[in-house]
């Protein structure tokens, strides 16, 4: 009896403190929004731009830090300006999209380093945005994550049909009269906002993992975009709870523990997934009557 209650206490102890609960709440909200936007990132092969926007936001974080402005606002402005710049440069110059990304995001990141290098003394606060400091998340951070995160989710729900169609087949969407350019810019802006609210909780360096890993894991399991979002969100929440708990017990950085938990879940799914896992059984391809004689499966 006492062994059971000991175990229960061992599992629940970490959650007794208010700052742990605050951290968990922040991570859970961030991982849900990241999984939803990350589904677009994964299916459209946008991981590089996700990483780029996170790094570019550092320029804004540093500028806001030095000028004493709002750090989130600085990050958002830098990320959104960089994403607009990437689309603009690649369209006008004829350079490849990933080339434009490579040029602009490193530029914005370098600007951040330049600004910080002029600062003397105490810049630890700044590094909480680079590597994440979820235990330092305060009440105002939580409110911001909740409000911006909810806004992102509501916009995705309202424009889901348009975002799906534009992501899947932009030419056909344009022919059907949908505002394709607005949707593509809008998608980048929503990804930028998602990164901004993740900065404090997971940090610039690791945020791309929160965008990509849960959604990628989900894509191994389910085959429709909205299901990838839902399953990805579940995996993100699970990673947050387990990772934060492990970081408390092992006294390691929370953001790294959460990301590594998600990575382990991905690898396990990759190995065991019934659909595409390398150890799972592949579904045998059985041709039905209706399928015969149409060129064979591809």
């Amino acid at each position: 009896m006492s062994a059971i209650s000991d175990l229960a206490a061992y599992l629940t102890d970490p959650w007794a403190s208010e700052f742990m609960l605050r951290s968990l709440l922040a991570l859970v909200m961030v991982s849900v929004v990241c999984a939803v936007m990350g589904s677009f990132v994964v299916v459209k092969g946008m991981a590089f731009i996700g990483d780029a926007l996170a790094h570019a936001s550092f320029g804004g974080v540093a500028a806001a830090f030095v000028l004493g402005g709002n750090i989130y606002l600085g990050a958002a402005v830098a990320a959104i300006l960089t994403s607009l710049g990437i689309v603009f440069v690649s369209r006008r110059s004829g350079l490849r999209f990933d080339t434009a990304i490579g040029v602009l995001f490193v530029g914005a990141f370098a600007l951040g380093i330049l600004i910080v290098s002029r600062q003397e003394g105490y810049i630890v606060d700044l590094f909480s945005f680079v590597f994440g400091n979820v235990l330092g998340v305060g009440q105002s951070d939580l409110v911001l994550i909740a409000v911006v995160g909810a806004t992102v989710l509501v916009l995705v729900a309202v424009f889901y049909k348009e975002l799906l169609f534009t992501a899947y087949d932009p030419a056909m969407a344009a022919a059907a009269g949908l505002p394709v350019a607005a949707m593509q810019y809008g998608l980048l802006a929503l990804i930028a906002l998602t990164i901004v609210i993740s900065l404090k909780a997971v940090g610039i360096v690791l945020v791309v993992a929160m965008l990509v890993t849960p959604a990628a894991t989900a894509q191994l399991l389910v085959q429709r975009l909205h299901l990838i979002m839902a399953v990805g969100a579940g995996i993100g929440i699970l990673s947050s709870v387990v990772g934060l708990y492990l970081s408390y017990r092992a006294d390691v950085a929370a953001s790294a523990a959460v990301v590594l938990t998600a990575t382990v879940i991905f690898l396990m799914t990759f190995l065991l997934s019934p659909r595409r896992g390398i150890l799972g059984l592949r579904r045998p391809s059985i041709l039905t009557k209706a399928e015969e004689g149409y060129g064979g499966p591809r």
Binding site: Y168, A176, G296
Partner: protein
């Protein structure tokens, strides 16, 4: 079926305007002309082929008709209306290479996208839309596979899904870009049957293709395009060695064996 010649635009006989009317169209990319003064009129209820080699402007012409590419000069009218007002009349089937088959959507989802243009912003599909999707899936014989992810289909099935999506737009005019590419003879035949059904229902089809034999045997009209319209009319009449050589230039080999001309497209 009345013969329609390139350039003929008169409606003096009091008849209806042609389904597709292209007049003196110039268009291109980065200063490089892809279409040079294209004039074309296609009657309602016609299955018309648009043939020409790669880079002859077939896709550009379709994109201009769809309103996806702004021409330098000239205009397109659909039943006498400008394109931006008549977008609802059009259904479009893109080249299969341009479709992302790994995308996580089901067959049903893809066909439903054909309804999105009609629905407009912020409106969700209603029962009528779902019924229309099922009807289109039934028409192409794909109801059993409606829940499949699109990448799990065979080439012929993928083509039929794209055609079902085009039909879900409830178009009067269908523009199809290289629908036969990569299909075996059976799948090609099935697709052609679908085209004939749709034409029998009074719709107009303009099909960009370089499958000359298919156009020659099954289409009402053909337009030979190589930046300019080289010839327009019944395939039987216009598919002469002279016209085809002018259209395909070095891309085409005409072989004369025992009084019959065999065409090989490179």
């Amino acid at each position: 079926m009345a013969r329609v010649d390139a350039g003929q635009q008169d409606t003096e006989d009091g008849g209806l305007r042609p389904a597709i009317e292209v007049s003196d169209l110039w268009a291109g990319y980065n200063g490089q002309a892809a279409l040079e003064g294209v004039t074309l009129a296609i009657e309602e209820g016609c299955l018309a082929g648009l043939v020409g080699p790669n880079g002859s402007g077939k896709s550009t012409l379709l994109r201009v008709i769809l309103g996806l590419h702004r021409p330098w000069r000239g205009e397109v009218r659909l039943f006498g209306q400008k394109v931006d007002r008549a977008r609802r009349l059009l259904g479009y089937m893109p080249q299969v290479e341009l479709v992302d088959w790994a995308f996580p959507v089901s067959v049903f989802d893809v066909v439903m996208m054909g309804r999105y243009g009609r629905l407009g912003l912020l409106r969700s599909p209603i029962r009528r839309d779902r019924e229309a999707v099922w009807r289109c899936l039934e028409q192409v014989g794909m109801t059993d596979l409606a829940r499949r992810q699109i990448g799990e289909l065979s080439a012929g099935q993928q083509r039929r899904v794209l055609f079902a999506r085009t039909m879900a737009q409830e178009p009067r005019i269908l523009l199809l870009d290289e629908p036969f590419t990569g299909l075996d003879a059976t799948a090609q035949h099935d697709l052609l049957n679908l085209f004939n059904d749709v034409r029998a229902a009074g719709k107009t089809l303009l099909v960009a293709t370089h499958d000359l034999s298919c156009v020659a045997t099954a289409f009402d009209h053909a337009a030979c395009l190589n930046r300019k319209i080289i010839a327009f009319g019944e395939p039987r009449t216009i598919f002469t060695e002279q016209v085809l050589n002018a259209t395909f230039q070095t891309h085409l080999l005409l072989v004369n064996v025992e009084g019959k001309t065999y065409v090989s497209y490179q």
